[in-house]
Symmetry: C2
Subunit: 238 residues, 2 copies
Amino acid sequence: MLYLFCSIKFVNKTVNKIRQWTQNINFQYITTMTKHQNNKEMAILEAARNEFLEKGYDGARITSIAKSAGVTHAMLHYYFKTKEQLFTGIFDDFIHQVVGNMTELFNDSDKPFIQQVEDAVSVHFDFIKENPQIPLFVIREIATHPERIELIKDSVASTIGGFFGTVQKGIDQARINGEICDIDAINLLFDVLSLNAFTFLARPIFFAVFGRLTADDSVFIELRKQEILKTIHKRLAI
Amino acid sequence: MLYLFCSIKFVNKTVNKIRQWTQNINFQYITTMTKHQNNKEMAILEAARNEFLEKGYDGARITSIAKSAGVTHAMLHYYFKTKEQLFTGIFDDFIHQVVGNMTELFNDSDKPFIQQVEDAVSVHFDFIKENPQIPLFVIREIATHPERIELIKDSVASTIGGFFGTVQKGIDQARINGEICDIDAINLLFDVLSLNAFTFLARPIFFAVFGRLTADDSVFIELRKQEILKTIHKRLAI
DNA sequence: AAAAATATTAACAATTTTGTTAGAATTTTC
DNA sequence: GAAAATTCTAACAAAATTGTTAATATTTTT
């Protein structure tokens, strides 16, 4: 769960031992932290995750996070030097979770390509359904602080790049087999991402306006999923 | 442009004359403000609009707005009592702009329904292209402050409700004519909104990751538009 | 031109928010 | 069990942020 991320406390500890402190130590190459090794630190991370997801960086409050975690805010500054640093770790974590989920969507199988795509759409939809705040979180933070994406650009680009290549190969082969019509990988994936993510981006507004018309939140979400599967299916069909 | 909105100064002025001050005076029924009537007030509104669009309510700063507008922040509090009040006016304005644009998408014509839809998709896409920050702005503010939608819920719901009815009638008739396949208005409009809005929601991320692959921002945007038109067309085709 | 209304400024103030520090308490290491 | 490292607390502090106020300048009305 926690990629590229460990606390200042952990770095300090490590550094005390190995005596190699630098300000910009590369977190990636330090052994990842054992979970539940430290209750308070984990409580802070959990609280910070929720606070940042819900309110974004600008709306989040260090004191509010500390209160949720059941610690003083001085404690929070002890484990994580600044708000920015606490945020960066959590942000990187989400980015890798999103990218990781995407790149695992296609698993080699003998199924027809159109079926593989539908499976991927379904898995992706369910992932966002389980993590409905992530799309807005990522979009909002990149939009308000564009410089943040620089930190992860290269690592993400290569991962995603390979993934797009895989999908494009699948498309090319399916085209040769006469299974699908013409489309390129980027547009197909952008369509899927748009339809799936926007369902949950717009949900609060939709239910504020149309709540009285629809029986139930989950009923509408399931209807959207079926509609998206149909839309993508028809987009690929010859 | 400015719906349901006038400044405290203007209300004060009006109230001084008509001697009918109440705290919750209904702005809607006060004569709308003449543009350019007051340079400083307009400069504040313009600056606030940009600041809120760019940074959201939580990230926006009264002093920053005042500086952009070339006035002291005391001046800003003179025209608009609080940050919240300044924001509310601008927010309402955006909501009505978005809803207004949507409800004007379908104009009665003799064209085949599928062509009417494609025209609407194109107009809607271009609207967001001209106002690319609005979708994130609205989604973000509703997500972080859900109570705000209550202020406009009823007025918006009825407007949108009527619009959905119009679209549904068009669908029903086109179905009878054998022009399109089965779909309901809400899903169709949600599809269009998803594909169009997400293009611009994801653009900063997309270009951070894939910028090097694509020649130009505007080229990609145009490609997306064509892809969306194709996707909606195939979704409706029998 | 006098009076009234409106616009503007500068200084002040309350609160929030992030961050620090010195020292005490606890745990770990030797 | 002594020394060292660490965890933790309470109080402090600096800066940012929103908002107020009293006095002054300007414009509008009569």
